[in-house]
């Protein structure tokens, strides 16, 4: 295989791992509550800003700010679900779309008021540094982020499969009435679920902050990618986020290498469109199409 192709695939995988991490929360929230969270990108934005300010004021490395972003976004997500979204649970889905769209506008605009439209970035000692292995370039920051992203996606899966709360979340996703009969306070489970989804999304925002442009308006683009990744992997199926993320990452990278960068954006939408028409349950067929 030629080096260009291998390099393109590696770039795609590195990108895709990150896509997976920030889409897993989107998938979780949809899977449990049926909420398509249109304010998803704002969670990433808040995570990235958490990392940015910790770097500015305390010179804290973006990777070490990840736990802070997680705690902040968990609290934010928990409160949003508890006091806002819980009011429309059980109503037609359109209500939650409107509400999360409103949330998207509100959070983004408040952020613009506070932080202005400026584009910001974090420059660390390792920014731009590459590991050169067998003639391939692997940027350190992206590699670390990739590893953290995989670990986070696995961690979420582990939490859902192995803990009492995780089991209750899965039960609630499948049959909320029966879950209640088992003693599950589903409104609290909803809040924890949104908190968890927001926490891993915020964490992803923090760990991508070393190599992305941070601005209050960055969110929407990420919401779109998360939506596409989750459709690819199967709505509501968490490991699907990994499959969808890696697929989309590689597809975009190949398109950028062999066609051009503009096409790589179009590819996202072409894939999204084709999936929705041909296989709406996702690549693995385990998605939920309610």
């Amino acid at each position: 295989m030629d080096a260009v192709l291998v390099q393109a695939i590696i770039n795609g995988l590195l990108l895709g791992g990150v896509y997976a991490a920030y889409s897993a929360g989107f998938s979780l929230i949809f899977g449990v509550m049926g909420v398509v969270n249109l304010a998803h990108g704002e969670l990433i934005m808040l995570g990235a800003f958490t990392s940015y300010w910790l770097f500015q004021f305390f010179n804290l490395d973006p990777y070490f700010s990840a736990p802070f972003a997680m705690v902040f976004l968990f609290s934010f997500g928990y409160l949003v679900q508890r006091f806002i979204l819980n009011r429309v649970m059980g109503l037609p889905h359109i209500m939650s779309y409107i509400l999360t769209f409103g949330l998207h506008l509100m959070v983004a605009n408040i952020a613009i008021k506070i932080w202005t439209h400026d584009f910001r970035s974090i420059t660390t000692s390792y920014s731009g540094a590459n590991a050169a292995i067998l003639g391939l370039n692997i940027p350190y920051a992206r590699l670390i982020t990739f590893v953290v992203a995989l670990f986070v996606t696995w961690g979420l899966w582990f939490f859902l499969m192995k803990t009492e709360t995780g089991r209750a979340i899965r039960a609630t996703a499948q049959d909320k009435e029966v879950a209640r009969l088992m003693g599950v306070d589903i409104r609290n489970i909803y809040a924890i679920t949104f908190g968890l989804g927001a926490a891993i999304t915020g964490l992803s925002g923090a760990v991508i902050s070393p190599f992305v442009i941070i601005s209050p308006e960055m969110g929407l683009e990420y919401t779109i990618i998360a939506f596409c990744v989750v459709v690819l992997g199967g709505m509501g199926y968490i490991p699907g986020a990994l499959v969808g993320g890696l697929t989309l990452g590689v597809a975009q990278s190949l398109a950028a290498t062999y066609l051009n960068a503009g096409v790589s954006v179009a590819i996202t939408f072409i894939i999204l469109f084709m999936m929705l028409v041909i296989r709406p349950t996702g690549i693995l067929g385990k998605g939920n199409i309610a």
Binding site: A168, R170, A171, Q174, D175, E177, V178, R180, L181, M182
Partner: protein, 238 residues
């Protein structure tokens, strides 16, 4: 006479403007098997719904262990010691048999007794032990019913409510399910069984209530109900 475990007094239940249950009275004493029989649409499931808290009675009261539980939320009733096997089993199809059972002991009081209760459930249903790692959705209808009963037992209830456990099962399995209910009751558990399978329910229960069009039309010891002319004609086709 001992105090009833469950005491329903004169409840009315409505869906929007339509009254589904009219002045229902029902008592269940400790260690009894009580059955509520009646045709489809009589309001049997609604009655259970009102007991566990999915429907709120507009009139009357429900008392459990001497405590007024009228209108209490479903997630609270299980903590007081009553669990329901819902109609159609409703096992968690994407979860393993083991996870379904663990879900049954989600409440703190039963979580502490989990491994011991699991052993008891597996002794009633060895099949569930064999299928421990399988997804709920891969089980047969009979196995799902067993799993739903096992899951309910996992919460260590003092009152077990069963909603049509024989629904949709092959005759051989129906017999098996009723036998199991008798075995479970023999451990001292109190059972309230709602059924369309009148013959078997009257056979295994001590007392019975007959629900028609949202009203209790008859009640009494099961053998008397079984000998009643009206019941023999309308329900047993004898």
């Amino acid at each position: 006479m001992t105090e009833p475990l469950l005491d329903i007094k004169q409840i009315d239940v409505s869906f929007f403007d339509v009254r589904v249950l009219h002045q229902i009275d029902l008592k269940v004493y400790p260690s009894e098997i009580v059955t509520v029989i009646g045709p489809n649409g009589a309001g049997k499931s609604t009655l259970l719904g009102a007991i566990v808290g999915f429907q709120v009675p507009t009139e009357g009261s429900i008392t459990f262990k001497g405590q007024n539980i009228t209108g209490i939320a479903p997630e609270k009733t299980v903590q007081l010691g009553m669990t329901i096997v819902p109609e159609g089993a409703r096992v968690f199809t994407d979860m393993t048999v083991m996870d379904n059972l663990k879900m049954g002991s989600y409440i703190k009081s039963s979580r502490a007794l989990r491994s011991e209760t699991l052993e008891m459930v597996f002794s009633f249903f060895p099949r569930l032990h064999e299928r421990m790692k399988q997804k709920g959705g891969t089980l047969s209808g009979g196995e799902r019913q067993m799993l739903a009963i096992g899951r309910a037992l996992m919460s260590r209830p003092s009152l077990l409510l069963l909603d049509e456990p024989s629904l949709g099962l092959a005759p051989l399995l129906v017999t098996k399910v009723f036998e199991t209910i008798v075995q479970i009751a023999a451990t001292g558990l109190t059972v309230l069984l709602v059924e369309q399978n009148v013959h078997f329910s009257l056979e295994i229960s001590q007392r019975a209530y007959v629900l028609e069009n949202g009203r209790m039309v008859k009640d009494g010891p099961s053998h008397e109900i079984m000998d009643n002319d009206y019941i023999r004609k309308s329900y047993l086709a004898l």
